[in-house]
């Protein structure tokens, strides 16, 4: 019995919801960023599965773009984290008021 496409869709959605739960439940900015990476990778897994399903590599190209954007996002977000929390005593995103503008 071969693995069907819906197995991959189910696995990716479980992974995506774990990422959403991480963003909602954790207050540590680094763990929230890692949860965002989890969601990116869930989307990537779907791109791979459907690319394999249609035997067309546009999905792989799109996953490549997602990886690039994820790298840029991680770099920017970590720079913000370093800038904000260099002087702070506490690392709690609820306590950060300096980004309100």
């Amino acid at each position: 019995m071969a693995v069907s496409v819906s197995s991959y869709v189910g696995l990716a959605s479980v992974m995506f919801f774990i990422g959403v739960a991480g963003v909602l439940l954790r207050r540590n900015p680094l763990v929230m960023l890692m949860s965002i990476e989890l969601m990116f990778n869930a989307a990537n897994l779907l791109f791979m599965a459907f690319s394999r399903f249609w035997l067309h590599n546009d999905g792989q190209i799109f996953a490549f773009l997602v990886i690039t954007v994820a790298a840029a996002e991680a770099a920017i977000a970590l720079a913000i984290v370093v800038t904000v929390f260099r002087a702070e005593k506490d690392v709690d995103v609820d306590q950060v008021r300096s980004l309100h503008g």
């Binding site: 869709v9 763990v31 590599n57 490549f64 720079a79 260099r86």
Partner: protein
């Protein structure tokens, strides 16, 4: 088949470990296991280049960046490693809503056409690595990336450049570098004085 379930178990378990670990370093380790299992799963889906890319870019660059930031921030007085972990008020409704929507999604999946959709064969014998025209080979991917999808590829270069400039603006040295003659003279004078002092203060 068995490989899919083993890898899927690893992926889900390490994802849960990532969001539930007490210290961010443990979260990074969980994410590393997650990405490694995902790379293996990409290999089973004939995405050779993206599997290697996953290891190099995610495990090699992004996770190292995370570890670096954790080390940088926990070297101060405040123990960054033990972040606050209290649950906000929305925890229970969020979990309930999440499970409900996940269950709905699974129900819809099991009744959709996708559960009957099998993966087609890749079209016979896989050639040596690098053969173009074989789905998922590196040559096939590269040919598509540099011919049909050239514009998105260049846009990723632009995005990375913007990210680099943004990071330098955000976290870099705030004092601007002024290449003036006066400043060069100051630097030269201080160096000469240091040499004349012979290293003594």
């Amino acid at each position: 088949m068995i490989g899919f379930w083993i890898l899927g178990t690893i992926i889900i378990a390490s994802a849960i470990w990532t969001i539930s670990a007490k210290k961010p370093v443990y979260s990074v380790v969980g994410l590393l296991a997650n990405f490694a299992a995902l790379a293996a799963m990409y290999l089973t889906l004939n995405a050779e280049f993206l599997a290697v890319m996953q290891i190099i870019v995610y495990s090699g660059a992004i996770l190292v960046l995370f570890v670096f930031v954790i080390a940088l921030l926990s070297s101060g007085v405040a123990p960054f490693s033990q972040g606050p972990n209290r649950l906000p008020k929305i925890a229970l409704p969020a979990i309930a809503f999440g499970f409900a929507s996940l269950g709905f999604l699974m129900y819809a999946l099991s009744h959709s056409m996708l559960s009957y959709a099998r993966f087609p064969r890749t079209g016979g014998n896989l050639g040596p690595v690098g053969t173009a025209g074989v789905f998922g080979s590196v040559a096939d991917f590269g040919k598509a990336l540099f011919t049909v999808q050239l514009l998105p590829f260049e846009v990723t270069a632009l995005i990375l450049m913007v990210a680099v400039i943004g990071v330098i603006l955000l976290a870099g040295d705030q004092t601007p570098y002024v290449p003036s003659r006066k400043r060069a003279g100051q630097v030269e004078r201080s160096m000469r004085e240091a040499i004349l002092r012979g290293g003594k203060r």
